[in-house]
Symmetry: C3
Subunit: 155 residues, 3 copies
């Protein structure tokens, strides 16, 4: 890795996680032309779920933001594979979809999801400015606190 984004990751002190295999019978990404469709990622760290539980209950906003950030890093690990190792090929992160496991009374989903969105812009600059939908869910696979999916355009 010697490209612009690779150097930016180093500047930010970030190491992409090892790309995690899917937890079931599907693939981490598919291609259609220059679009990459990325599977929803959970907040995995060193191969283990790092943030379990629900916002509005045992998970704080800060923990939720950390979880969203981990989801983004896991997405980027797969995106790097989709780019044959060269993240400079990312023309635009078109969309992030954020699912926040939470109680019915929770209303701060945007703050949580900013953990992923802010990092995308920190890393990719304008190419990281994405459309976004963020919603609450009663529960996620493995009791994860956050799941994030992505649609990306490559050069």
């Amino acid at each position: 890795m010697s490209g612009r984004i690779a150097r930016r990751l180093i500047e930010l002190g970030l190491t992409l996680p090892k790309a995690q295999p899917p937890v079931a019978t599907y693939v981490p990404f598919t291609h259609a032309g220059n679009l990459v469709v990325l599977s929803g990622q959970l907040p995995m760290e060193n191969g283990k779920l790092a943030v379990a539980g629900k916002l509005g209950d045992t998970v704080t906003i800060e923990d939720g933001q950390f979880a969203a950030r981990l989801c983004l890093l896991n997405l980027l690990a797969h995106l790097q594979t989709a780019c044959d190792g060269d993240l400079d090929r990312v023309r635009r992160i078109l969309r992030l979809g954020g699912f926040i496991a939470c109680t019915p009374g929770f209303a701060d989903h945007p703050k949580v999801m900013n953990g992923a969105s802010d990092l995308a812009v920190d890393i990719f600059g304008d190419a990281g400015r994405h459309a976004r939908s963020t919603v609450g869910v009663p529960s996620l696979p493995l009791d994860a606190a956050v799941e994030v999916e992505a649609l990306v355009e490559l050069n």
Copy 2:
């Protein structure tokens, strides 16, 4: 605005809201070729959330339909920007995704989402006939009752 869709909006007595800035670090839409990916919109009216709460609880079906309709108008406000002001460039609304904040016992999501779908067809005719997914969620940003996202193809 002097196009066919602009005239249709006037016939229907509709004024698009002022495009609302995102509530966090993302953008209202992205482009990839002739596709426009629009961020999930809440039922905002005059810059304020118009319908809060949950279906099956304090929000009636009629209020939910009104909320879905407002979400669509907010999507169109951003879509108009994405079209450089000319909504006649809309070839097809490819997909609407509807998220309905509701209780576990609620089952009338399609009726609620029709508030958005019916209006899309009223405004755009066949170009407004979209694929759709509608699901319940325990809560949405700002305690909104409905959130709608869209994927649109331009000429």
Copy 3:
């Protein structure tokens, strides 16, 4: 039907259901270039909802898998129409989105969604290997246990 996929459906002993009309004002699929966007499908069988209720409550994992499988068959019924009857035109199932109606304590969403994913691979082979997002929801239209949507690339 005399193509490769048609023969594979016969080998697997599968008959695609009659394509169900949407339960509201939208269409089963839209096209943009060689992309097909398919509306979320419920577990319908012979025109009736086959699996109602929630995972973690009255619906078992096995029933949920059966429901996910039915959703996929209903998606394929519409996809067949989108392909003018020839499912051999499917280049890739790009994405499946799975919504599992469940209790807040449920965490086995991936197992349930495998009912759809495994069948996609059984039928289409490598062309059926898709990106996937699976999340819990408090409720679905008609009290369905599962809803699945799809994005497909054609040749």
